[in-house]
Symmetry: C2
Subunit: 500 residues, 2 copies
């Protein structure tokens, strides 16, 4: 291709298309016509000798002048584009690793080499969302053997950065999710770090839930640390609770997971690879996985949980990690708060040993910390929870928590939102069921996690007896509009909390 | 949801994103924030009480004023949007039929009901491209049984319009493709219609090839006819060769096929459903399928061709059609021209019985027309080709051809492009191999099919002896830029034509 004739001038047009890279070209652009591109064609673009494959959108008026091209914000940033810079167009080479995706579709077994090639191209942005969807679908539905899950996990680990720590033993915990308010991580980190174990915990922000651990911790301290800062905190305090986004562990997984969520496909193989690749890349040696099981949790049957438990152990072992999954009750939210600040308040009340502290959250944190102590031989079998409980009730966990927050750069006090509405029982009786998914949705409509102090405060755990007009839960919101969204949703939902 | 607060004013922004519907919203738009939408969220939009599900792109500067939203061109047209009109936003209901896609991923068998539900939602635009990709992948790789292919085909038929004809017998032919220049359709239509059979042939424009039958016929007559016009032509002439785009047969297939091409996945099941759904919807009763087999054709092995042949027959029979597939030589292009006008010139020279007419094209047309005669009992077994040959050599086929062209509204003479370059043999020898795919690509770079008179004129069929500097083929182009693209490509290709 003649590169001179394939050059246009960049104009920033500020369109955010998330991870799908889009390049915008005029309908009457000679390159568009000459190259035989169509709208949505995959085209290779190059700016400052950085290359990217993008989908083409055709613009027929106003947005661009003659000789100009635009980029979606993601592509603009990755290429380091500047206003008025040059952009060169060409036909992209075929994505060779798509042949392995096709092989998988036809039932062939993929090796680590195949997965590495695929993920390498995914991370380079060579796969369109449509191609990523095909890869995910081909691997879903129990189409991956245990060997393939291991190979995929190893390939994910190698797609990004690897963290190294001075300690030979690095512990971690992870919850497969689906349970609102299950914010044990900050408590476990404080307890475990206080006991002298190294636990460099990186967490994500919420993608589909009302709060991620990073969102919650952001109401208590600073979480946007770079790798150097994280290393300094961990060397001083043994532990941290930071946002993982700046560390780029298993970046292929970050891309795949967005399409998995769009498809609402979360196969066992992909979940295991996702979780364990991050743990391995983070340098973990001993990992506890929390699998809550319940009708409206992510994992819904004991049988599925048992299978996951076995898979986690085997794949972890292949990656030289000692992984133990524990199956917990997933029938109702944990603690009382759902939403960043509301969950943070629960955490503080547990750490401060307040009499009103939610006992279920406290007990879960003790259970998980205890399991870590036993897995790492810090405690003898059966004695882990005792140690965890002692560290928490003595106030040492709280002191450690404050110390880590300070090391991360700030100690903040979470605030409650100024708008609130109590939702009351329309009849007396016993709380029989709580719909986790609908409660989470309600908290999101009220503004969580973007509105940090918005969410739900739950007053009625399962089994509690209530009278008519007792407050079941309180909705908190920062804006009237958001509060109204939540209330509108409530009007058409009758089964969020079931009273028998 | 409160619909008043979810309303914005439409502004046309002229961005063409092909079949993926996109809605554009400002970053600071209250709806965006309040609804908890993210960039690339699926949102339901409503204009004039028409509903559509679109993906959200977030705009942070200039393109839209406060209170405004934009639409991709496809969505703008489907919704009948007008500048300054109102657009209402809400969360889309979950796409229920995606559960059947997930069931298929997990190996369950789908029924006609399931496929109908899926295709219904696809045609309504409820599926994102990512979801369509997942459906296609789940069905690919021989994951569909013969019963499922039949169910999918029936569901595709029912996704669109059905044509009815006065005749009880309606014949058709189809080539599964992959062979440049294989433009037998206009010849077969002329021969068969002249024999008194009804053959209402609708054809597509090229999607990835240098010419579709509709592109070629457009250089000879008018092809953009509506259903009423088509009916009138067929009633008068027994046959037609029109573009099928205005007739909306099997619209679900039109949507799926674009994603299949993007993925380069063309599974047997989907190909059979695609072809036979269009034939059934068009009211065909007797159908001949041409399956060219060759190293660089679409079907590459005799074994795969035999399997396809069997499947076509069985699925056709389930849809009450008499379908016969014939396996033909796919080792080299057919005729001499590759590109709309160049192929049209080949057709004319066969119809006019010129001594220089390409015999391979002529013989293929006679073969296919003969098969139609025998399948429809117009000829006795073994006598079909004789009848076809007689109709062609007598000039009656040419007269019929002109008569149909006239009925369609025009008789045009195709023109050759003004720019041309001869490509010569660098050594003497025998033509051993011709790469269909690369030759097709060369024709496309030269401008075909958009530039109607551009393409390739081939002078060296397989087995021909050539001297050094003999012309192997001529590249035709309408623009210097396009000619240069073709020549640039040629510089890096050494194996388009192999001389032994």
């Amino acid at each position: 291709m003649n590169s001179d004739s394939n050059t246009l001038t960049l104009r920033r047009i500020f369109i955010d298309t998330q991870i799908e890279h889009i390049v915008y070209m005029r309908k009457d652009c000679p390159i568009y016509k000459a190259e035989g591109f169509e709208s949505m064609s995959r085209v290779q673009i190059s700016v400052n000798n950085k290359f990217l494959v993008a989908s083409l959108n055709i613009v027929s008026n106003g947005l661009l002048d003659h000789g100009e091209a635009g980029l979606s914000e993601s592509a603009w940033h990755i290429l380091g584009a500047v206003e008025g810079g040059r952009i060169i167009f060409s036909h992209p080479a075929p994505v060779n690793s798509m042949q392995f995706v096709r092989a998988k579709i036809y039932g062939n077994v993929l090796s680590k080499y195949h997965f590495k090639e695929i993920l390498h191209d995914v991370v380079l942005g060579k796969y369109s969302n449509v191609e990523i969807s095909s890869f995910i679908t081909a691997c879903a539905g129990d189409h991956l053997s245990l060997e393939e899950i291991t190979a995929l996990t190893e390939a994910m680990v190698e797609s990004g950065q690897l963290l190294k720590w001075k300690s030979n033993m690095v512990v971690d915990k992870h919850c497969v999710g689906g349970l609102p308010g299950n914010r044990t991580t900050p408590l476990v980190v404080a307890i475990v770090a206080e006991a002298g174990l190294v636990i460099p915990k990186t967490s994500s922000r919420a993608i589909t839930s009302p709060a991620g651990t990073a969102d919650t911790m952001e109401t208590l301290t600073q979480v946007d640390l770079d790798l150097e800062q994280i290393t300094r905190v961990v060397e001083r305090e043994n532990g941290c609770f930071v946002w993982g986004g700046s560390v780029k562990l298993s970046p292929a997984d970050d891309i795949l997971i967005r399409i998995e969520r769009a498809l609402d496909i979360d196969s066992d193989g992909q979940m295991i690879a996702s979780v364990l690749s991050k743990k391995s890349a983070a340098g973990s040696t001993h990992v506890i996985i929390d699998i809550p099981v319940g009708k409206t949790a992510k994992v819904r049957t004991q049988e599925n949980a048992e299978k996951l438990k076995y898979y986690f152990k085997v794949v972890g072992s292949a990656l030289h990690m000692n992984v133990k999954a524990i199956i917990t009750d997933g029938s109702q939210p944990v603690g009382r708060g759902i939403g960043p600040a509301l969950e943070a308040l629960d955490i503080l009340s547990v750490l401060r040993n307040e009499s009103t502290a939610p006992q279920d959250l406290k007990n879960r944190a003790i259970l998980l910390a205890g399991e870590i102590f036993e897995l790492s031989n810090t405690s003898k079998p059966g004695e882990g929870q005792e140690l965890a409980s002692e560290i928490l009730s003595s106030g040492r966990a709280y002191a450690k928590f404050l110390s880590i927050c300070k090391a991360q750069g700030a100690i903040k006090e979470p605030q409650l939102a100024k708008l609130k509405v109590d939702v009351k029982a329309i009849r007396g009786g016993t709380i029989l069921e709580i719909n986790n998914r609908k409660l989470a949705k309600l908290a999101k409509l009220a503004g969580a996690p973007k509105a940090k102090s918005a969410g739900i405060l739950l007053h009625c755990p399962l089994g509690k007896k209530v009278q008519e007009n007792d407050v079941l839960y309180t909705i908190y919101a920062e804006e009237t509009g958001e509060l109204n969204y939540a209330l509108d949703y409530l009007k058409v939902q009758t089964d969020i909390i079931l009273i028998a």
